[in-house]
Symmetry: C2
Subunit: 645 residues, 2 copies
């Protein structure tokens, strides 16, 4: 089994997952195949919807003499006629629905192994949301015991070890941690179906996040039983990789149609609000009048078209860095899903989510409403502003939100102020306070807001503004007279120097500007745009500024300076000696060779690649955060850009 | 030409529009057919997308010798091989794009008539957003002059008279009024393309709303040049019936794909975030590698699948009463569209929109975020609470938002309070203050909110709370001690009586309860639910309460009482003598027979059907508001329920 990250956004990721039956891409939806009654065959699913992997139930196969024999003789793949990876479930959900089931927990794992399942599942104990903590803990412990026993018999099969713990965060985290410490390969988050059925999305989110905290980040995570696309974008943004859908068939049997915004009864619809091949070929009244059995088949296909399309939308959003926007758009369809967003506003979740958040994205940040200000990227910006930015003067003149970049929009006023007095210029923006030196940096410049914003954003922004400006004397710009009483200018601070200092501190940490710039500083600008492009310090090319996101690319001479000034492990990715010769040739760093990493590094950050003795080898751009680098066995951790020759 | 309303929601409507080439349903999207170069033929469009009506350009036909001859000899329908209704444009947009065009404004109308166009368009003067008011007024006056001249030559063709007036509301309204007073049949709102191109959605909304104010509500309205589905839900909610799309081809030629949330470049996509037949058959990389010309065709089909599906979604939302929800979900995809919502918050727009808002809907009100509190239905509730509700006591005990119905959720506390003191019970709900007597009435009970709401809603709700409670002494419930200091109970007010009084006043107006209830009041409840079902007053059955929306159905005996107490024209729909015999037999009232109507009546309101002498004939439920009843020549105005025998 192989699992590696290819792209990412929020805590979501596009990964490649490989078993001996092939490679699939995550986020991935596995339709549930009932071996007794296939509404649509896996083969047809592959053709129609691009289905790459399916899930079937080993308990049902085991309990049926004919199926069991066939599966044991010919294998699960022949049984359901599918040549891609197959996951099997163990009967846990049956035990939840029907009460105790008559199967040995180890026997069912062995059976899954014997029929050639690619991913077999332990017989975990389903924790229900209404359990007491004691009861939930008992179930969790039994699950752990079974997982440990099951690992021993898994053979070549990847083993799915389900995280339980009901709605108790500490149990979820503990269960996840313990399961990660044994040799599990795949981690379903279990016991969540009743939460979804009762639209308890706040509890769902908490269960996912506390499970994720405890799990090995290099392993695939499966939100077990989640088959409605309504939840896919949010679940992916929180780090879920796999979904399974029995909903497509269950809902179809009930004449219900799945949509990204919810479910509708066919018989309530006057029009089919959809453009899938089924809804493009038929009208609502045609479907209603259709032979019952045929209608079920058509509805099941519709349900799968819609569900798989949502997965494609999510991948597309990850690639363009707009997954949070997709999530925010989707949650507005359901007031209970909005409760999930409210849960995410808690500090504990923000801290965790911020760690996976990329430093920069391909697309501007789009405001969608009052949820936007609570995004992890905004949380990071606010924290870094408080921690890493130092105002230059005692007085601050504040301008309101305006066109971007602000330094251009307010150029006239700023020049006038600067010619008279030494003041900080601050924009009271819709993302929070933006010092003028940072106005070209992602996401301050790369964000789109309407002219007016909602009251909640105003409140949040005002809180941050107060925190940020508490030491300085703040003056709100009205007109020329605003600055009449300020003391005359004494210092002469070059605005380009101020900009490169502020941006480098924000990006690399406090002290970066001091480390990077000394002696004669030569700033080279684009002739076309007038923007800063390259910075030389004492004739060393230390940094380049990227036009797209206003952040720095670190040059090897800059890296040397930061390496010298910043103590280990700051900005470092430390690699094993086996990888050193390759990096010295400019090759990139694979995750399995990373032995240490600065915990402050985020995906797409500039980093120093060093050996065990902290000897600087190269400079590169991270693709993973620390936890991921230390866990992943496959895939790239750092893209090396320049190495020491 | 025939145009009648079949269903409605917000200021949007599902209508039937009939010409001699057939009947089409609105909201309707007309793909633009270039007679010189048909990427997809109208015939194929009908088959693939269910296209019912198309638009082509008479100016292009006129200017091309071959096309002109063919069109004059065989007709426009043969020319483009389409047997459904065809609209033709006149060359106005060409004049906007290429400057002055060489055509006589009357000649082009005659030409459209002669080639058998179902809807021909005047050669209006395109008003641009950057025009001075003087210039815009000149253009508007010239447009009006041409419209008047064109009407004389239209023959059997329906004539589309385009509303101009640039971004000046008073010019838009004036132009619309004047056009409505001449014999125009179809009203495009023109000059909006540059607003959409520059994402000036606030200006767009204002232009639409001021045009709509001036227009005859019984005529179809076409948002000229709007072909991107992003704007469809909002435009329909404001009363637009027709759209035309050249975008499908223009964007396809540019390798861009249309989505409900915006536009994406094919070459930027790693996955096709869509499930239309084209995107279900092909992957992104297949489309990218395809022969350029073939790719354009596939993208054009995708664009039309998506655009027509959005129309189906809108119709579906109208039918379920959730159009505002669809609008709010859609606008969250684009910060500039959110500016349109901010424009809608202005009092002037709320007042206008409230008139079309139905009294009750099929589906509960779903909160989507901070836009929900600004919906017209909330505006109405707040106004009616201030105007029609009178508290019973001097002291008010307030409970926070809770489960619905509130009277059940807080039953224990309320009983306790009521046994001790005479107080009003008020819920400080997420929709605003809800007196306990109204807690089962739409939308107070039929609304879904998350546990917490955004700050903007809180602010709006708090403002309303203060307005509503300014006369009473307000006590916020904490525990039993809350009511310790209240004076002991003196009056005994039956809570069922209080409920039916409050609901009837809210629904029918101040004084309704006094008119309806006298003597012995007998309230019959459902044995199953305990809810009020029927009310008899002095042995007359005056009202039934509907379980679904908690509103009253007016019985004939109730109608008699209201008719006696309420002066003309309150609650009345007055019909022509020709219709009297039919209504006396229990037949419904068609719009063309309505000669007067209470301006306070809203769609789906209970009403009194009277003759010219104000003799009560029957009681029914309105489908239209006053302006619509007095304008429409086709379709039903009131569904008669019970008539006087």
């Amino acid at each position: 089994m192989k699992f590696e990250i290819k792209d990412r956004d929020a805590a979501g990721r596009i990964c490649k997952f490989t078993t001996k039956h092939g490679t699939v891409t995550t986020p991935n939806l596995m339709p549930v195949i009932n071996p007794n009654k296939m509404l649509i065959t896996p083969r047809e699913m592959k053709k129609l919807f691009g289905t790459e992997m399916v899930i079937t139930n080993s308990y049902i196969i085991y309990k049926d003499d004919k199926l069991r024999e066939k599966a044991l003789n010919e294998g699960a793949h022949k049984l359901i006629d599918f040549d891609g990876p197959i996951m099997t479930d163990s009967g846990t959900f049956q035990s939840y629905v029907y009460g105790d089931i008559d199967i040995d927990p180890i026997e069912i794992v062995q059976f899954q192994r014997d029929i050639g399942s690619d991913v077999g599942t332990i017989l975990d104990v389903f924790g229900t949301p209404d359990q007491t903590k004691t009861k939930a803990e008992q179930g969790m412990k039994e699950t752990l015991k079974r997982a440990k026993q099951s690992v021993r018999v898994k053979g070549e099969m990847a083993l799915a070890c389900t995280v339980q713990g009901s709605v108790y965060p500490e149990l979820r985290e503990l269960c996840a941690k313990k399961l990660s410490s044994i040799d599990g390969d795949f981690f379903p988050i279990g016991g969540v179906v009743p939460l979804m059925e009762n639209q308890r999305y706040g509890d769902l989110v908490r269960s996912i996040l506390y499970s994720k905290r405890g799990l090995n980040p290099s392993k695939p995570v499966h939100l077990f039983g989640a088959g409605h696309p309504l939840i896919f974008p949010l679940a992916v943004a929180l780090g879920c990789d796999f979904f399974d859908s029995s909903a497509y068939a269950k809902y179809a049997n009930d004449r219900r149609m799945i949509f990204p915004w919810g479910t509708e009864k066919l018989d309530d619809l006057i029009e089919l609000p959809c453009h899938c091949p089924i809804c493009s070929k038929h009208t609502a009244s045609e479907l209603k009048k259709m032979d019952k059995k045929e209608a079920v088949l058509q509805l099941a296909k519709h349900n799968l078209y819609v569900s798989f399309a949502e997965i494609k939308k999510i991948k597309s959003a990850i690639a363009s860095g707009s997954l949070w926007e997709l999530v925010e758009r989707r949650v507005s369809a359901n007031p209970y899903l909005l409760e999930a967003m409210q849960e995410l506003q808690k500090e504990e979740h923000k801290v965790w989510l911020e760690q996976s958040e990329s430093t920069s994205k391909n697309k501007a940040l789009f405001y969608t409403g009052n949820n936007t200000i609570h995004r992890p990227i905004v949380y990071r910006c606010h924290h870094r502003l408080l921690d890493r930015y130092k105002p230059l003067f005692d007085n601050t003149v504040v301008f309101p939100e305006g066109k971007k970049p602000y330094s251009k929009y307010y150029a006239k006023q700023i020049d006038e102020i600067k010619s008279k007095a030494d003041v900080n210029i601050l924009i009271n923006s819709y993302l929070g306070p933006v010092p003028i030196e940072l106005d070209e940096m992602y996401p301050f410049a790369q964000s789109v807001f309407p002219k007016k914003i909602d009251e909640e954003t105003k409140t949040e922004v005002a809180k941050m503004f107060d925190k940020f400006t508490k030491k300085e004397n703040v003056i709100f710009w009205e007109d020329k007279e605003t600055i009449d009483e300020l003391p005359a200018s004494k210092k002469k601070i070059d605005k380009d120097i101020a900009r490169i200092s502020a941006v480098s501190n924000m990006q690399f940490g406090k002290g970066a500007s001091k480390a990077l710039f000394d002696g004669e500083i030569n700033i080279i600008k684009s002739k076309k745009t007038g923007k800063i492009r390259n910075i030389h310090s004492n004739e060393n090319h230390v940094l380049s500024m990227r036009a797209g996101d206003g952040l720095f690319t670190l040059k090897i001479d800059g890296a040397k300076r930061l390496h010298k000034s910043f103590k280990y492990p700051k900005l470092r990715v430390t690699i094993d000696k086996d990888a050193v010769p390759f990096v010295k040739e400019g090759k990139s760093v694979f995750a399995k060779f990373v032995i240490d990493c600065d915990s402050e590094l985020r995906p797409f950050d500039e980093c120093l690649i060093v050996d065990k003795k902290d000897y600087l080898l190269a400079v590169g751009r991270t693709l993973l955060n620390r936890d991921e680098m230390l866990s992943f066995e496959y895939g790239m951790a750092v893209k090396t850009r320049e190495h020491i020759k």
